[in-house]
Symmetry: C2
Subunit: 266 residues, 2 copies
Amino acid sequence: MPLAKADLARLRSLQEKKHREALGLFVVEGEKVVGELLAAGFPFAEIYATEEWAGRAASPFAAVRRGSDFAKASTDKTESAPYLVTVTPAEMARLSHYPTPATVLAVGKISRNPLAPGAANRGLTLALDGIQDPGNVGTLLRIADWFAFDRVLLSPDCADLFSQKVINASMGSFARVKVHTIPLAEALAGVTVPVLGCDLSGEDVHALKPLRDAVVVIGSEGRGISEALRPLVTYYVTIPKFGGAESLNAAVAAAIVCDNLRRVTR
Amino acid sequence: MPLAKADLARLRSLQEKKHREALGLFVVEGEKVVGELLAAGFPFAEIYATEEWAGRAASPFAAVRRGSDFAKASTDKTESAPYLVTVTPAEMARLSHYPTPATVLAVGKISRNPLAPGAANRGLTLALDGIQDPGNVGTLLRIADWFAFDRVLLSPDCADLFSQKVINASMGSFARVKVHTIPLAEALAGVTVPVLGCDLSGEDVHALKPLRDAVVVIGSEGRGISEALRPLVTYYVTIPKFGGAESLNAAVAAAIVCDNLRRVTR
């Protein structure tokens, strides 16, 4: 049974944030990213794959059920395993977001986790303030994952967590890191633990003291930490500079701060 | 005098590496990147700009001469200041590499610097082994600039130094960092200083000793440090991991190693 036009249109529409929000779904395409998220246990709702991918996937992903009746799949809400819909290469070419179609495309449900009051007082929090480049946001999720931060906060003007570019750049960390999209001034309003801001005129990050509980705020490269957030920053840290570059990439700066924090807080 | 068709074709062809190599020229477009490179003193050969940009540029870039006679500009080899050719917005739209044309586009000469024998024995060298993502290569130039590395070596399979994406991501560091494109096994063959490789099973980078002269080798994320280079690596360093991510982005890993090296070698 070929894919219905309506399904094609729905799946293609998920490239845009407004449609993702309206449908509560997001899509990722490609063997690498789908494989990374499945390996991390991400509960996809629907998987569309060519015979080539479906054949290979059969044994490692036993939970994936094959089905061709999409109407049934989309109404059968009691199933937790994703429906694997086998499509022809021609259908995949129409579904695909890329000039060279992949062999698999997967749809997940968007879940937004509210931040429990006081949550940012426990453990390590990475707060991203207006990071608009999706590659940077994904790389920052990967950094938070590597350094075992307890959560990441995204200000609403960051790149959308559910965009394919963010998920790709996270290299699977999307499925492992707890992320909350929330206005940062609201999230950090009642916080009593140190709130570290990274900028160009703070204290030497090499002099950081051990901190079991802390928030690290990373601003955008162009604008820095936003005015509304500055009163909530307890102190600023700076990465010592030796040469001519005016600044560092936001993800690079965050990684250096995290490494310095983990060096003293194992 | 409108731009000749041949000039339009020549300028547009510079998007591709083979044409850049054939003509010995590269092109960058955009107020930000052209401004950064001019501010860093980069000697462009030709600048094409709308009246809007040219008017603003007149005072800060006094060395830029305005001219509309392109034929004269391209044969007058004794001039060191770039020719500023004022173009109409319609011409710029045809020159542009982007859907939304910028107000300025600049052409520079490609210069390849041979690596003097033994040069890598002096100071700090960052060697990039097969880093194919141009954004990563540019970010790595910026890191080398921030940490005042004396030079960067690019293996020939790295992204092309003269591609716009590399130059953009370097945020002006392209004009400040000494870069040599050279097979790394050849460049490092006679090196007597420590050659540090960054991988997942080396010594803790937090235990690094001061090193005034050293080479830091960064491999690609997918493949790591190439087999041919491994015998030349003196020892491996690893960034301590606390969470679930399998690896870090190459530029992120390099930045953490550079910060740790500079922490002990000020």
